[in-house]
């Protein structure tokens, strides 16, 4: 009797815990997918702003160093600023701009990064 009850309770609790883990994973994947879409769009926005700015390509960690107005506005735009612990960098050699942010929105996950190759022929 007691063992039946215990086994039943253990199965129920295990099933619910599995559902909790599974559900949490779904939320994590949804969040990550949304962040990636958002970051890719932000990088396209960066390229568009740069192409019409007439400025030379800012290099390095642009959101920490640059004093260009369009870069500051881009860094403050929701698509960039809403990513957790985001950093933006421009690689002068590869002509790429990349966004990195904390994955899974907790402190223990690895950094997620998305990059975009800039159309150099359009540079002013």
């Amino acid at each position: 009797m007691l063992i039946d009850y215990l086994v039943g309770a253990a199965i129920a609790i295990t099933g619910m815990l599995a559902l909790l883990v599974f559900g949490t994973e779904i939320i994590r994947l949804n969040t990550e997918a949304r962040d990636r879409w958002q970051a890719r769009s932000a990088l396209a926005d960066f390229e568009g702003r740069w192409q019409i700015s007439g400025d030379a390509l800012p290099l390095g960690a642009v959101c920490q160093q640059s004093e260009l107005n369009w870069v500051i506005e881009w860094c403050e735009s929701p698509a960039v600023s809403l990513l957790p612990d985001v950093t933006a960098a421009v690689d002068a050699v590869a002509k790429t701009v990349s966004l990195s942010w904390r994955g899974n929105r907790n402190a223990f996950e690895a950094t997620v990064s998305v990059s975009r190759t800039l159309m150099v022929s359009n540079a002013p």
Partner: protein
């Protein structure tokens, strides 16, 4: 002896059973509440992810179409001026976006993009579109890899007469209408040199105040295309996305108004809109250059 046997096999007492049931119920209620909360969170996150995907995919599609509207590879100096119109006037910006490329041409030395208030367009279903809502008019210029056999509007650019473009409508069996804007020539092949042929596709992108049935209150982003026929006829509109609110187009660089101030051209557009779902909405904005040289 018999009492000891009974006490050993009588099972649980009522208090033990009640206590166990109470603990079990408390545990189950906590787990069910957690699952319910989790299920709600999953719905919200899935809704947000779906909205975001729709919004960003839509923005990518608009950016792609805008990039295909780039200026033609002409010698700019010889074709950069205002475009002659059929009524004998000149316009730097298209004046009647509802017309065909032959009757209301764009300047090929500029991107085929204009922003027009919906109230100025006779080819839109006016009862369902706000007159002040901006309409994005795009003329895509698709380079034919060899020779395009489809009916439609074409522009031929020749190496042996740089800066000169021949615009014509061609039926599927090769009959040609229209002609060179400058000389009235109706030949697409103007010399023996290399001729690059571009097919023109005009489309209007606008916001309608319903999605699936009239009066549902869910705005949708629509796309209407010009039929590849010599006379102006717009095909039935396709819905690009439903639940699109706050559709806005702003000039980001190089703004130019038409003579009658009915259309605006720019070198870059700031496109913004939000996609609203059941639980959350996603707002996106992007600066898209439209005057990209080859």
């Amino acid at each position: 002896m018999r009492r000891d046997y009974l006490s050993a096999t009588a099972g649980f007492t009522l208090v033990e059973l009640l206590l166990t049931q109470a603990l079990g119920l408390a545990l189950m209620s906590v787990l069910v509440a957690s699952l319910s909360s989790l299920y709600k969170s999953i719905q919200v996150s899935a809704d947000a992810a779906e909205n975001g995907e729709t919004a960003y995919f839509l923005m990518d599609a608009l950016a792609q179409w805008l990039s295909e509207s780039r200026r033609l590879p002409l010698s700019v100096d010889s074709f950069a001026g205002p475009v002659p119109t059929l009524d004998g006037g000149y316009s730097a910006v298209i004046n009647d976006p509802c017309e065909t490329p032959l009757r209301s041409p764009f300047a090929f030395s500029e991107a085929g993009v204009a922003v027009v208030p919906a109230g100025n367009l006779s080819c839109l279903p006016s009862p369902w579109v706000d007159d002040h809502s901006p309409v994005l008019m795009i003329e895509r210029r698709m380079l034919c890899p060899e020779d395009c056999a489809d009916a439609g509007f074409y522009v031929a650019v020749s190496d042996c007469s740089p800066g000169r473009a021949v615009l014509a409508w061609r039926s599927g069996d090769g009959d040609i209408g229209g002609g060179d804007r400058e000389s009235g020539d109706t030949r697409l092949e103007t010399c023996n040199g290399k001729v690059r042929l571009f097919q023109l596709h005009r489309m209007l992108i606008y916001s309608r105040d319903y999605s699936r049935r009239r009066g549902d209150g869910v705005p949708a982003l629509m796309m209407s295309r010009l039929a590849p026929e010599p006379e102006s006829r717009w095909l039935r509109a396709d819905m690009l996305a439903s639940g699109v609110f706050d559709w806005g187009l702003r000039c980001a660089s190089g703004c130019d108004l038409s003579e009658n101030r009915q259309a605006q051209r720019s070198n870059a557009l700031l496109i913004e809109f939000s996609v609203k779902g059941r639980y959350r909405s996603t707002a996106v904005e992007r600066t898209v250059p439209v005057d990209i040289p080859w």
